[in-house]
């Protein structure tokens, strides 16, 4: 298929394709991080993860509208504030949900699947009632649109670079919080042995609530960032949920490194196959490969102990 193209063309296409793979990788990591914390650390199968993301997207949309109406001069910087607000909103909703719903279900992990599935339907309908059934268009500041012109045939999408930087930043923060901070040690202690953790004076309920809130908050940031590349509507969250679970389960629950490794392998396979085959076939082959590997390694790529 490459016979008709010059060497220069091919070179630049491979560079571009490399970027496409990296961008897909960052997107996967970003959407899976929140779930990796909730599913991985707490064992809660959160089917409403996509809806927490979309809450972040709607917050971004509202912030953008506010800035356009009241602070048009600061519009170019609104996105950073929007991401913080998205984190706060989704995190707060997550903590509320944990308090009302999830904490009663820790001993019945499979029921969390049904409960959060119901929650996702409720949230979708709530978005539909509040924001309308139609999709909303989030307007972005000018500097975030378009691409960096490297050579005549190599263009790097700015939103892709932005998502990459954001992913690195958030991953580093999460890794620090989970593995270096005092609170992270408490979370891991609760995961490993809830009763003992309680006995040594850790407030396990509080740890649960904040962990769930943190996972949802990160989902909110992801949703906010995805307004650059995807749609914002009541059911848009559904577009991400399958891929998200795929990444987390394939990586091995409870392992941050596993999530990253799995996002990397899935995104690279997907993106390379998409280039040589068609989009649908690429998806089929990627899923087949994942199923095959999970049959050989049911615990995922990297596995730690999970709360039973």
């Amino acid at each position: 298929m490459f016979g008709d193209y010059s060497l220069g063309d091919l070179g630049s296409i491979f560079v571009m394709q490399g970027f496409a793979g990296l961008i897909l990788f960052s997107v996967y990591v970003l959407m899976a991080l929140g779930l990796a914390i909730i599913f991985g650390q707490m064992g809660v199968i959160n089917m409403a993860h996509g809806e927490f993301m979309i809450l972040g997207a709607y917050v971004t949309w509202m912030t953008s509208n506010l800035f356009q109406t009241y602070l048009p001069s600061l519009f170019s910087g609104y996105f950073f504030l929007a991401m913080i607000l998205a984190f706060v909103a989704s995190g707060a909703l997550g903590m509320l949900v944990e308090w009302v719903l999830i904490r009663h279900l820790y001993k019945r992990p499979l029921d969390t699947l049904l409960a959060t599935w119901g929650l996702s339907l409720i949230l979708q309908q709530a978005y539909r009632s509040v924001f309308g059934a139609r999709e909303v268009g989030v307007e972005l500041p000018q500097w975030m649109l378009g691409s960096l012109h490297v050579t005549d045939s190599i263009e790097v999408p700015i939103n892709g670079v932005f998502v990459m930087c954001l992913t690195v930043l958030i991953t580093v923060c999460v890794a620090y919080v989970m593995y270096k901070s005092r609170w992270g040690r408490q979370v891991r202690a609760v995961v490993q042995n809830r009763i003992m953790a309680g006995a040594v004076g850790i407030n396990t309920e509080k740890v649960d609530r904040y962990t769930f809130g943190l996972g949802c908050g990160i989902a909110g940031v992801a949703g906010s960032a995805f307004t650059m590349i995807g749609s914002t509507g009541p059911t848009s969250g559904q577009l991400y949920i399958v891929d998200t679970f795929l990444v987390v389960v394939f990586g091995g629950a409870a392992s941050l490194l596993g999530t990253i490794a799995s996002a990397f392998s899935i995104s690279q396979t997907q993106s390379t196959l998409e280039f040589f085959l068609s989009g649908s076939m690429a998806k089929v082959l990627t899923l087949l490969a994942v199923v095959g590997i999970l049959m050989l390694r049911p615990q995922g790529l990297f596995a730690l102990k999970v709360r039973k």
Binding site: Y5, D9, I13, M16, Q17, F19, A20, I23, L24, V27, Q125, R128, G132, A133, R134, E135, V136, G137, V138, E139, L145, G146, S147, H149, S153, E155, P157, I158, N159, G160, F226, M228, I229, G230, S231, T232, G233, P234, T235, S236, Q238, L239, Y240, Q270, S271, E274, F275, S278, G279, S280, A282, K283
Partner: protein, 419 residues
């Protein structure tokens, strides 16, 4: 097969008859007392439909919840507006239209279930509804079994014709061929890259488009790609587009994927003011979500744009906005949905009866001069004769009309040489 019969309709005698019939509603409309003169219910309703001396009930069946609510909301709004307007001008055969709205909930078996409920329990005289082909296919056997009448608004892939359905949107050849001809002639386009969502409508449409490009326009299809419904990552296919450098990108991506596709196209530095892109799936409704700045410059090929400059549309758009809000936009399908109740009313008055069999026979030849898209007429095959138009997306999310066919395009749901 239908050509002969249709030419018959255009004979001077038939035309006079039609004009006479068109005048009937005008008479019943005049005084308020017209209700008293309405024909007896026993005469206009011999099959036990929900028709009383003062009222007739129809059904509205769309998804108000679920994934498809994004698209179907506009159709619901348009149908309600049409019913309201018909009632304000005297109703149908002197009877006010009452509607029962059911929610298909974006779930195809639910559509079939609700259609059956509307026909069997509520005995509605007609149903305005369905949006996706999947929902129509689910409802079709119900309509045929219980002999109902469905007015279906969406542009679709064709390959279907039923006594019990009037298709008020365009079928694929009507929508696509004129657009391809135009872009081939205007832009000298020779190479095309197809990209669509992976289900029946894009695949059938692209099949038709490919045959037309290869056999009629003597051009080349340099790529044909499908992405699963709901895909949000298009960077790889955009690289392929950059590599193959097609004259035209021809797209029928739908739903949330649409938004992702155009945002990523723009981010990858493809400038739609230089790269020709022809879409058959983006209406003003979709641009709301995509954002005008991401799609400005793209060409869309369909039969209606909100910006159309004709007297009918100039009264339709303000009426729609008055009822549903200043910010609402009106896309192709919304307009087609608006035609449903009107065409039904005109057909009932032509047939002089609410009976489904009589409406099915009377439908061919019914013309609606007040259509926002201009003028439409029902064909023997229950699709509409309509013009095809090409519009160019602007920053504000509206389309600028670039081209329209001189004549109405004949609907051809079973195109020879394209299957």
């Amino acid at each position: 097969m239908s050509d002969e019969a249709n030419k018959g309709l255009l004979s001077p005698l038939r035309r006079k008859l039609l004009m006479g019939m068109a005048a009937v509603p005008a008479i019943t409309m005049l005084p308020r007392a017209s209700f008293a003169q309405a024909p007896a219910t026993s005469a206009v309703n011999t099959t036990g439909l929900a028709v009383t001396d003062t009222e007739v009930t129809v059904g509205i069946l769309h998804s108000a919840t679920g994934t498809m609510a994004i698209s179907e909301t506009g159709s619901i709004e348009a149908e309600k507006l049409a019913i309201e307007q018909i009632n304000a001008t005297g109703g149908v055969l002197g009877r006010k239209i009452k509607f029962i709205q059911e929610d298909g909930a974006s779930d195809w078996p639910t559509f079939a279930e609700k259609a059956k409920k509307l026909l069997v329990n509520d005995k509605v005289a007609a149903i305005m509804g369905c949006w996706t082909s999947a929902s129509r296919k689910a409802v079709l056997p119900v309509m045929e079994q219980y002999n109902g009448m469905l007015y279906y608004p969406t542009f679709y892939e064709g390959l279907e014709q039923s006594k019990n359905v009037i298709y008020t949107g365009q079928e694929a050849t009507q929508q696509i061929l004129a657009g391809l001809n135009w872009i081939a002639k205007e832009k000298g386009a020779k190479s095309f890259f197809f990209i669509g969502s992976d289900y029946i409508w894009p695949r059938t449409s692209n099949k038709i488009a490919r045959k037309h490009v290869e056999n009629v326009l003597k051009g080349k299809v340099v790529g044909e790609e499908y992405y699963a419904l709901g895909s949000t990552q298009f960077n790889s296919v955009i690289n392929k587009i950059k590599l193959t450098k097609p004259d035209v990108i021809f797209t029928d991506v739908v739903g949330g994927s649409n938004v992702a596709f155009y945002k990523q196209l723009k981010a990858a530095g493809i400038d739609l003011s230089k790269q020709a892109l022809l879409t058959i799936s983006v209406t003003e409704d979709e641009i709301d979500g995509i954002g005008g700045e991401n799609i400005a410059g793209a060409y869309a090929c369909m039969k209606y744009f909100q910006s159309l400059d004709n007297p009918n549309n100039k009264t339709f758009v303000p009426a729609f906005k008055k009822l549903w809000g200043e910010k609402t936009v009106i896309g192709d399908v919304t307009q087609a949905a608006y035609l449903g109740p009107w065409l039904w009313k005109l057909t009932v008055e032509k047939a002089g009866s609410f009976d489904v069999d009589k409406i099915a026979t009377a439908s061919p030849g019914v013309e609606f001069k007040g259509a926002p898209e201009g003028y439409v007429r029902i064909h023997e095959n229950h699709h509409l004769w309509s013009k095809t138009r090409v519009g160019r997306a602007k920053l504000d999310g509206q389309f600028e009309l670039i081209y329209e066919t001189a004549d109405l395009v004949e609907p051809d749901p079973f195109p020879k040489g394209y299957q």
